[in-house]
């Protein structure tokens, strides 16, 4: 497994739980029939925004830099390789809830898309990253 995502605090976070793989057949009557294909949830998503962070030097404690994030993205070969998420990613979340989100069994986190970097002013950027947590075969 590749290196952890940098231990920096996001300014906003959106998490979506995974679901069990299934298919639904909808009859003409409207009655549905569902078939499950596996016993574990998959397809978790985590979207993080790091607003107004320094490009190469930290502006606030644990705010991180855009370079740290891009360096990590490069080190895990973009969307290809899997990695762990540090606890700090869930800063502010209750421990009981964080456990459910941080440690779903057999889940591997990867970048769902390349990070987006929006330049705010000289040396300051807003970085948006999205991760996907999937089952590894």
């Amino acid at each position: 497994m590749a290196s952890k995502f940098p231990a920096i605090r996001p300014t906003s976070r959106t998490f979506t739980m995974g679901d069990y793989p299934s298919k639904t057949y909808t009859s003409l009557s409207g009655a549905i029939f569902k078939r499950a294909f596996g016993n574990r949830q998959t397809g978790y998503t985590l979207n993080l925004t790091f607003r107004n962070i320094g490009d190469t030097s930290e502006l606030r404690s644990l705010s991180g830099t855009a370079k740290q994030i891009i360096d990590h993205y490069n080190s895990v070969d973009g969307t290809y390789d899997k990695f762990n998420l540090p606890d700090r990613m869930f800063a502010g979340m209750d421990d009981g809830l964080e456990t459910l989100i941080q440690a779903p069994s057999n889940i591997s986190w990867r970048y769902a898309a390349p990070p987006q970097v929006e330049s705010v002013k000289t040396g300051v950027s807003t970085v948006i990253v999205s991760f996907i947590g999937e089952l590894d075969a």
């Binding site: 009655a31 549905i32 029939f33 569902k34 078939r35 499950a36 294909f37 596996g38 016993n39 574990r40 069994s105 057999n106 089952l135 590894d136 075969a137």
Partner: protein
């Protein structure tokens, strides 16, 4: 209404048997006293007809190490015997005892960029009314094919 289905794939080939199931992700599952590891495969095909034509199925794997190994040990899936069990599973992961059990022989494979499809066929075909009243053996027809693709003329 809902249903959970697991398929147990028991392939006999050189160095085998090779046993996999496709429901319990990342886990082993015991079925019929045997242990089946997890492999992400799906079974397609299987059309039955009134004529009793033999059944063809395709087992689709991602092009991973398991599929490459199966391809290798069965010489392109031409020398393999497959027993496929289809069973229901309850919410607690208990597998039913009853369900279809089918046997196939390897028919070859299709290899794609990211998938490997193993093709199988049931060994026996139906006997039609125009079937010759003569026994087919190697003495009168030469080497018999391994599948049922016999052409009667």
């Amino acid at each position: 209404m809902t249903i959970r289905i697991v398929q147990y794939f028991n392939l006999t080939a050189t160095g085998g048997p090779y046993r996999y199931q496709n429901y319990f992700v990342g886990d082993n599952s015991t079925f019929g006293g045997l242990t089946y590891g997890f492999a992400p495969f799906q079974v397609n095909g299987g059309v039955s007809s009134l004529n009793g034509d033999n059944l063809q199925i395709q087992v689709l794997f991602p092009a991973n190490e398991i599929a490459l190994k199966l391809l290798d040990v069965a010489e392109g899936n031409r020398k393999s015997l497959l027993t496929l069990y289809t069973r229901t599973v309850n919410k607690n992961g208990q597998v039913s005892n009853a369900g279809p059990t089918e046997q196939f022989i390897g028919l070859g494979a299709s290899i794609g960029l990211d998938t490997i499809e193993l093709r199988f066929n049931t060994a026996a075909d139906s006997v039609a009314s125009n079937f010759p009243a003569q026994r087919l053996n190697q003495q009168n027809v030469g080497i018999l094919p391994l599948d049922s693709a016999l052409s009667l003329r």
